[in-house]
């Protein structure tokens, strides 16, 4: 199957195979991404993060439905953690999205974190590009807001929404440092529960402290399971998109994201090159032994090795 032709021709099977190629690092993946790249940059990318059980998937489902009503096609990348013990994963986000599973204008893909060394953000970014080239107008990336790599993933988004729920109490302290800074929008889901006001005030205070530069993140309240407040969330997303465009920040953000991605790619290639030419050589093992016996020092050796690579 010609995956590139298929993706550009809106074949769902080709899009699925393209994402698999990227995810499994198949040899043909680079070629596919090279060919698709000129066809990307058209979709609007929304990142959704927040603690487990906040209702991200349910909210994603409702947002997707509303976008479909407005005639937009939607791509969804749902990221769930890989078990560090078995390497397996249960990807259950689709359970909340089965209503839209048969909609031709929706493409959903679940991805596991696979415990990779920062490689996930690249793979997710590439999966997003596949769906972008495939023709999705809106692409929603949904991750569990627990780790740095997930923060990196949503950073590739144009608009990032943090979903929180009342009743987690001091848990907000724990996640504060990680994910709250990246929120362009905040949504308090399950807002029919006790503790909404308290949470609202806490977010307000946090925003107050961090200070706003031009855009003040709005705080919406939803009961996603009942579709309550979903339209307001979409209004906020659109307001943010409009702000980004008018302030020229969209261009700046995307430039930043391209820069980050390019630097990560270079770093990854250098890492691979070092593995091949340095780490896997017998000289290297000898060097380690000499280091251990304190015959030489690692600072000089690191410089020596770098000099050799650069030659």
């Amino acid at each position: 199957m010609d995956i590139v032709k298929g993706v550009l021709g809106r074949s769902r099977l080709a899009a699925a195979k393209g994402i698999t190629a990227v995810e499994n690092e198949y040899p043909e993946a680079t070629g596919i991404m090279q060919a698709l790249y000129p066809h990307t940059g058209r979709a609007y990318i929304l990142g959704i993060t927040g603690p487990p059980g906040a209702g991200k998937s349910t909210l994603t489902d409702k947002l997707a439905k509303e976008y479909r009503k407005r005639g937009k096609s939607v791509g969804i990348i749902a990221v769930d953690p890989t078990s560090p013990y078995s390497g397996g994963a249960i990807l259950g986000d689709r359970i909340r999205m089965m209503d839209i599973a048969m909609d031709e204008g929706v493409f959903i893909r679940s991805m596991a974190t696979r415990g990779s060394l920062g490689g996930l953000s690249q793979k997710t970014a590439d999966a997003v590009k596949v769906l972008d080239a495939f023709g999705c107008d809106i692409i929603i990336i949904e991750t569990v807001g627990v780790g740095q790599s997930e923060v990196d993933i949503v950073k590739t988004a144009d608009t990032t929404m943090v979903v929180l729920v009342p009743g987690l109490g001091d848990d907000i302290q724990a996640i504060k440092a990680g994910i709250l800074e990246i929120g362009d929008l905040f949504t308090i889901n399950k807002a029919d529960r006790e503790g909404v006001e308290k949470l609202h005030i806490e977010i307000e205070m946090m925003l107050e402290l961090s200070g706003s530069k031009g855009w003040r993140p709005p705080i919406n309240r939803t009961v996603a399971s009942e579709s309550e407040g979903v339209l307001e969330v979409i209004d906020s997303i659109e307001a943010h998109a409009k702000y980004l465009k008018e302030s020229n920040e969209l261009k700046a953000r995307r430039a930043e994201s391209i820069k980050t991605e390019l630097l990560a790619m270079i770093a990854e290639r250098i890492r691979r090159h070092i593995n091949k030419t340095v780490t896997e050589t017998r000289d290297f093992e000898k060097t380690i032994v000499r280091l251990q016996q304190r015959e030489i020092d690692p600072y000089s050796i690191a410089d020596d090795i770098l000099d050799k690579i650069l030659k």
Binding site: R12, A15, T20, G87, G88, R94, I95, A101
Partner: protein, 131 residues
């Protein structure tokens, strides 16, 4: 290619709401290192096949306790073929009478698991037969 993982869709076609078995299997498969896409109860064969396509799974594991396996299981294999998903391994489980098993295998269900089957048997079969 170091990152390749076996992806399995665990799905319940039809109208019964008994998903404990499916959940046990889903966990066992995860613990065996598979990536399990779990989609919940009351799905149509069309939904299952479309999900298998988008998720590009290697295996579809069907669970059904309503008695409609003779209709719904073959419907899934038929639709998979129709969508060009020829490499997907399909297995099924549930309260399935022995007499129905040959017919289901004929219809493309590679293996059938009745109550009491150890999950290790399912894992071994998938590992040995996945394409």
């Amino acid at each position: 290619m170091a990152e390749k993982r076996i992806r399995v869709l665990v799905a319940k076609p039809g109208l019964d709401g008994h998903d404990r078995g499916a959940k046990v299997v889903a966990r066992a498969l995860r613990d065996a290192g598979f990536e399990v896409i779990y989609t919940g109860i009351r799905l149509t064969p069309e939904q299952i096949v479309e999900t298998a396509l988008q998720e590009d799974v290697n295996v579809v594991a069907l669970s059904l306790l309503s008695g409609a396996h003779n209709t719904l299981f073959p419907e899934v294999t038929k639709l998979l073929k129709a969508k060009g998903l020829n490499d997907v391994l399909v297995v099924g489980g549930g309260v399935i009478p022995d007499a129905d098993i040959p017919g289901l295998k004929e219809a493309g269900i590679a293996d059938i698991y009745t109550p009491g089957t150890p999950t290790s048997k399912i894992i071994e079969f998938i590992k040995g037969n996945v394409k």
